[in-house]
Symmetry: C2
Subunit: 479 residues, 2 copies
């Protein structure tokens, strides 16, 4: 009976009607997560976890290829350690979960459950870096972190989430700057080429940068509802942590110098981006390169002699070239179609008695729902090609949407009108004054997303105060 | 200057002199871990982490092959939830780290940092299992857990450690029993065939079983100093959690039934086992199948023309077949030999001008330190074979040691004498009374390690009380 209920994929809310509810419905119906018993925590279910593992494996490979080593640092941070860098602790303290007791014993000092691990790495570096020969030190860890958020949503903002955090130390400011940019490039590569999500690249304003950083680089992506999502950040920490933690090295002339540090991270948020960029009213759409199952075989009239045998043989054949599965359950094919569309599996392969007779299969791509008949003999050639076409199409569609949803505003009236009627990114000039940035946020709820690497001059004056403009900024309402 | 210090691998304490100090020296000198700032926590450094990743990847593959799916459950457990299973909470409460504050807010209910996650999975199962068609539910997670231990040692007993924990639900007691045994077999496979550590297999006594379980199966291994280490456990949880958490399903006749559960885990402790089983007075010895680097090329007289070129060419050739690296730093070859012996790299490949002339290399195996000359043309054949020989030899040596260190005792005098003079496993008959088990522990500090699957009758009477014996038990002092 439980199974019978499962055959029925409940109708989800249309995204045009209520985007937030659509998101929640998809997350639940596609079996990505469930809610944990502590408010704001999530249980990542098998399908959601398989997607995360694919993202993680790809990124982990690139992190290693760029010379970084994985490590595991502790979960707990003594309160006094967290307080060593002033800006940093001010940024994070309001969100910290505190451990005060171990067993029956009250602790002499409270322990923070890590919201991020800069201070732990700094303490380690201060003990383990002595000479210029020890540099660069290039570490990364995959870990869970906790931030005591007030309002939460699965993947987007949760009390506990999963991420990788890179922490590096370098001899010079230039080396750290190069590293900061290199890791932003790695993130761009994974997000654009594997998640098929185009990104805007640039620098955060002083107001939006990481607490304690010299500057923060960011990749920003645009969701279907016209809101932005920060998808990865890379911080040049300068020497401020090094000064507070006394992380020095002897240079080639025997002179003591502070190290220059970076940190960078992406999180399970990326799964939220995936849902909100590619999903539609039938559910998820997963880009083939990170799809746990790239093709699902659905036998038609499977009770008829020979159909299942042929379908199994097909699966065995295709296992060599794609991640393939078969649904041989006794559900009706229509139910199966719904279920795998909800789960966003890139290609459905239908095979029934008629197809067997004609030595063909039907391929149905998830992104456009287009059907094509392919002869069995050509499948090994056609299927991988189709998967690449889907991958490319998802990226192209998302890029077209991002471009369409990017507008220019030269004064506040235009800014507000565009934001209200259309949403998306607004390109507007800024004088560089934090007062204008705060005023824009207050009046429109839009925040500065980034100062793009590719600067243009769309006006001479600041969109807010009308004084001389310093640089172009992308603004948007954001998750 | 830092580098100069690093060239020197400090002498480690001899294991015959002070085994505990030897262990600490190796862990530190081989750069496996560093101590965290919170007492009893550890930082797993790149080399230690690479070993853990190799163990983890192998085990993860086998866990998936046996039909399990990875998930991620939250870190925090509400106190009321932890208390639902009486035996379980009694077993774990004394070791729990408690979160009492989130940001500035005092929490209405304390949250346990998970010491293990049975209750979280139970709560999930109670909501998500409805029918016999939902069973079995086969979940696994890789996670960090925290136990507030009084005395700690890296890998062996730490405040925070890393593990996988499997949690499954089944329709029948038999299915759960089969799963419990199957996962013990998976652990046995990984520990014996990859870590090259022979294990004893059996059941824990009532006293030593997992808090809340029907019974616990265990694999036990013997360290070089004659102490035992529990290396993996698999628990049949019966229906006691199901009863407390109301986890029921409708069977094929529409009747409500409790599910039968299992849980099973192995931890970063395995690295401790690795060190203490294979290590020697030169440091670590890593079995080839899980060694991050299987062969290290050390060029001899590398300043001479052509040596480094040939060494790089050799590395490029070997990359295809083994995990190989080269040390082209300006340290003396002798220092390099010491360093890679300390790190337990299975094979050292020496190549100097004379070798190049003779078109050969020197292979030095870490386990026996034996040298052999191999012609370059035969290297692709010889090197993988040598690695397998080393793998086998490590296992054989450990098995011989385990056998040699296993004794029979038929009375307490014999028991104490053997334990004192020789250590190791003591095979002795037991009446089944917990009073005898406690008395043995009190008088000797040895604990029951397991009731082996392969029973023998080494005497008629209990080694402790002299009454009729029920079964054979392996006893040992243990970590």
């Amino acid at each position: 009976m439980g199974k019978k209920n499962k055959q029925f994929v409940e109708k989800i809310t249309a995204m045009e009607e209520d985007f937030a509810q659509w998101y929640t419905d998809v997350v639940k119906q596609a079996e990505l997560v469930d809610y944990g018993s502590v408010r704001g925590t999530m249980i990542i279910k098998p399908y959601g976890h398989a997607i995360w593992e694919n993202i993680r494996n790809e990124l982990d490979r690139k992190i290693k290829e760029t010379g970084h080593s994985n490590v595991s640092f502790p979960l707990f941070i003594p309160e006094s350690l967290l307080q060593k860098e002033k800006d940093h602790v001010e940024g994070f303290a309001p969100e910290v979960a505190w451990v005060t007791h171990g067993g029956d014993e009250e602790l002499a000092e409270r322990l923070a459950v890590r919201p991020t691990s800069e201070v732990l790495f700094c303490e380690y570096y201060s003990k383990n870096i002595h000479s210029y020969r020890d540099l660069p030190m290039l570490y990364n860890q995959w870990a869970n972190v906790v931030r005591w958020e007030k309002t939460t949503r699965p993947f987007l903002r949760s009390l506990e989430f999963y991420w990788q955090e890179g922490h590096t130390a370098h001899a010079t400011d230039e080396d750290a700057a190069e590293e900061t940019r290199k890791m932003l490039d790695v993130y761009t590569d994974v997000v654009e080429n594997y998640l098929a999500i185009p990104v805007l690249r640039g620098r955060k304003t002083e107001k939006e940068k990481f607490a304690g950083a010299k500057y923060t680089l960011t990749i920003e992506s645009l969701m279907h509802d016209g809101k932005a999502l920060q998808s990865g950040t890379s911080h040049h920490l300068g020497t401020s942590f090094a000064e507070n933690f006394d992380i020095t090295y002897l240079d080639e002339n025997g002179k003591s110098q502070y190290v220059h540090q970076t940190s960078w991270g992406v999180t399970t948020r990326l799964i939220g981006a995936l849902i909100m960029v590619h999903g539609d009213n039938r559910g998820l759409v997963i880009p083939p390169r990170i799809a746990p199952i790239q093709a699902m075989i659905v036998p038609i009239a499977q009770h008829k002699e020979g159909v299942l045998d042929k379908a199994y043989a097909l699966r065995d054949r295709l296992t060599e070239i794609v991640r393939v599965d078969i649904d041989d359950s006794d559900k009706m094919p229509g139910w199966k179609f719904n279920e795998y569309e909800m789960k966003g599996i890139p290609v459905r392969i239908e095979m029934g008695p008629k197809d067997i007779e004609k030595e063909q299969v039907v391929l149905v791509r998830r992104d456009t729902l287009e059907k094509e008949f392919v002869s069995l003999s050509e499948l090994e050639t056609r299927l991988p090609k189709l998967l690449e076409e889907i991958q490319q199409n998802l990226y192209d569609k998302a890029l077209a949407h991002q471009k369409e949803m990017t507008s220019v505003a030269t004064n506040m009236e235009e800014f507000k009108e565009t934001l209200e009627n259309k949403g998306g990114f607004i390109k507007a000039m800024w004088c560089g004054d934090i007062a204008c940035e705060e005023k824009i946020k207050e009046e429109t709820t839009a925040t500065s997303r980034c100062i793009p690497f590719e600067q243009e001059k769309v006006a001479d004056t600041c969109v807010c105060c009308g004084k001389e403009a310093k640089e172009l900024v992308y603004w948007a309402k954001a998750y």
